[in-house]
């Protein structure tokens, strides 16, 4: 199994506002505190490479305290020059959110060239709230996503210049310099919440599918749908096409790990993902079929998720190294996920570094049967 260190770069704070997204006033953001946090978080990502993590993950979110990386490519650029082995996974760029998605083709190619081909390029639609933050019409989200993805993939693989005349994006000259170093292009991943349309789209193109913060039963169901779709397209999914992103908390014993998880992981759900209800469901962001599925068995709002539910439904992994190993076996053996992305929070920068070290020394080595395999070979393109 491969391990990727995932960072949200949250601006951890308590507040009584109805929403941590869109409307939480940025006067609550202290840039001096932000400076400290950015540098600690980047130290943690660099340390992860030092400890043996296979990949480092950054992602895009806007106007919130949950994740302060509006430009993941900026953070990836900082990591490119401070690391030399780990993959750098951008999970991902919000394609429909850009007015000029050719910039994504350019920026990711820059990172790929400068890093010597270590970049993984996630393509996402951006979450619901981001359509309020950017002004992009949510009813165009899916079509813009597909069109931008096609444009970027063609820009990476077809010799330029060529003309592109889409519904949303139009260019007379598509000819980005540089071209990516990885051939035919950097691996593309699809982080998603499991809409059947995206599963089908990713499986058809061999793009790894990443489930983010999802109950384990639903992960199993979506993985099943993805594997089926791959078979339908005439191939068997590699384990490295099935990826999960969930928080892991490890400590000397279960009780200590539980206390840390209850406090720090639950902040992500209860406060970080607290959202004014209309921001969850902008019109047209979901297809009506997806909406009906959602309404028929609505998952709990993250802000209302209790620790007991998160624990019982497998949103998180916590415990002593032995417990964490057992819980991870479910992902490696039963779900057959090839890559686990996870962030850690030990309550302080030092506590987080210690937790990372414990995980690297007492958990990771037990899952290294595949150490010699390149997880990006033959997938994502």
């Amino acid at each position: 199994m491969k391990f990727y260190y995932f960072h949200l770069m949250p601006y951890v704070m308590e507040h009584d506002e109805p929403s941590s997204w869109v409307t939480l006033s940025n006067r609550l953001y202290d840039p001096k505190e932000g400076q400290r946090l950015y540098n600690e978080y980047l130290d943690q990502l660099e340390y992860a490479e030092h400890l043996g993590w296979d990949g480092l993950c950054v992602n895009e979110h806007h106007q919130n305290c949950y994740g302060t990386m509006p430009s993941p490519n900026v953070m990836a650029a900082m990591l490119v020059r401070r690391t030399n082995r780990a993959k750098i996974a951008i999970l991902g760029n919000g394609l429909p959110l850009r007015e000029n998605p050719l910039r994504i083709a350019e920026e990711v190619a820059m990172l790929d060239v400068a890093s010597g081909g270590r970049v993984i390029s996630g393509f996402v639609r951006g979450i619901s709230a981001e359509y309020f933050s950017t002004g992009v019409n949510p009813t165009h989200s899916r079509d813009r996503f597909y069109e931008a993805a096609e444009l970027i993939l063609r820009a990476w693989t077809e010799p330029g210049p060529f003309a592109f005349d889409g519904k949303f994006y139009r260019y007379h000259y598509v000819n980005p310099w540089p071209r990516p170093l990885q051939q035919p292009h950097p691996p593309v991943w699809c982080p998603s919440q499991g809409s059947s349309e995206t599963v089908e789209w990713a499986a058809k193109r061999r793009f790894p599918y990443l489930m983010v913060f999802t109950p384990i039963k639903r992960i199993a169901q979506i993985y099943g749908e993805y594997r089926e779709a791959c078979e339908r397209h005439g191939y068997t999914a590699s384990p490295y096409q099935l990826t999960v992103n969930l928080p892991i908390v490890v400590a000397e014993n279960d009780a200590k790990a539980r206390a840390l998880a209850e406090k720090h992981v639950m902040w992500v759900f209860n406060t970080g993902l607290r959202m004014h209800p209309p921001f969850w469901r902008p019109p047209g962001y979901m297809t009506e079929a997806s909406l009906r599925r959602f309404l028929t068995s609505p998952p709990p709002l993250p802000s209302e998720l209790t620790f007991e539910e998160a624990d019982a439904q497998g949103y998180i992994i916590y415990g002593s190294p032995a417990t964490v190993r057992d819980k991870l076996r479910v992902f490696s053996d039963q779900l057959r996920a090839g890559i686990v992305c996870s962030g850690m929070n030990g309550g302080s920068h030092e506590g987080t570094l210690e937790m990372m070290q414990m995980f690297a020394e007492e958990v990771m080595p037990h899952f290294r049967e595949d150490a010699a395999i390149d997880e990006t070979a033959g997938v994502g393109r």
Binding site: V22, T23, F132, G135, V136, N137, P138, T139, H276, P277, P278, F279, R281, P282, P283, G284, M286, E288, L291, R292, L295, T296
Partner: protein
């Protein structure tokens, strides 16, 4: 008063339309606002005492299925010109409220010759300097009611019958149909304002004195200035939806306006 309205299922150039109608007299087409589809209330009843009222639901609203081809407000304007053609209505009194007022104004700048008169009830649709329409998509129900209604009790007439998956899916479909044409720019067509001078039919502007979505000052004043010869009537006990808040008074104003002989009957 007219009796129960008749229900029609039409096909307008292949687009399915659910329509109510009642009354006798000159032809009147009513274009509803957000949430108003299929709600035959006192206002429509009053009009049906004087006109042959036709009240279609916009595609994606009420009983009319979504129409993917509608991506711009002008698509809706052409859709209603097509509807007039398919009903063989040469000229109608056109009444539109809020979003329906916006559509009605788009029709009027294209084809005033199809209109015997035009009534716009708190329309949106133009950019007004110094005013940004409050973003209803970002509001929960209490905030929306607070913004749209002066008399919140009037909102009960638009309350959904239940919270079933079917009802919620229909509301989502309506929101989607509106967002497709008006998420950004929000509730206006940048080209419409300079075209309002083309309107060549007698025009009545009905405005709620307490409209907080498109306030009388500045929005109503700008419409009154831009539409040639428009007459502005203010309804003192209303917010954004006077036809729901003071239905009798608004209907009377329309009946009176259309009877003034300024346009052919």
């Amino acid at each position: 008063m007219a009796g129960e309205p008749a229900h029609h299922e039409l096909s307008v150039r292949g687009t399915a339309v659910d329509m109510l109608s009642a009354g006798a007299g000159p032809d009147l087409l009513f274009l509803h606002g957000a949430g108003g589809a299929g709600r035959w209330l006192e206002f429509q009843d009053r009009l049906a005492g004087h006109f042959h009222v036709r009240f279609p639901s916009h595609p994606g609203h009420g009983g009319s299925p979504a129409a993917e081809w509608i991506e711009h407000i002008s698509d809706l304007a052409f859709h209603y010109l097509d509807l007039l053609d398919s009903l063989r209505l040469e000229r109608v009194h056109l009444v539109g409220a809020s979003l329906g007022g916006w559509i009605a104004a788009e029709i009027a700048v294209m084809a005033s010759h199809r209109l015997a008169s035009l009534t716009l009830i708190d329309p949106v649709g133009i950019k007004v300097e110094g005013w940004i329409y409050p973003f209803l998509f970002g509001m929960d129900i209490p905030e929306i009611v607070q913004t749209v209604f002066h008399n919140p009790m009037a909102a009960l007439a638009l309350a959904p019958p239940d919270q079933s998956v079917e009802t919620l899916a229909q509301q989502y479909r309506q929101g989607t149909a509106i967002a497709r044409i008006s998420w950004n720019p929000y509730l206006y067509d940048p080209l419409l304002r300079r075209r309002l001078a083309r309107i060549a039919t007698p025009t009545l502007l009905c405005w709620g004195a307490h409209d907080r979505l498109a306030p009388l000052d500045p929005c109503g004043q700008v419409w009154a200035k831009e539409v040639p010869g428009a007459r502005l009537r203010v309804f003192p006990e209303s917010g954004h939806v006077p036809h729901l808040e003071e239905p009798g008074a608004v209907a009377d104003a329309i009946v009176e306006f259309c009877g003034r002989g300024e346009g052919p009957r």
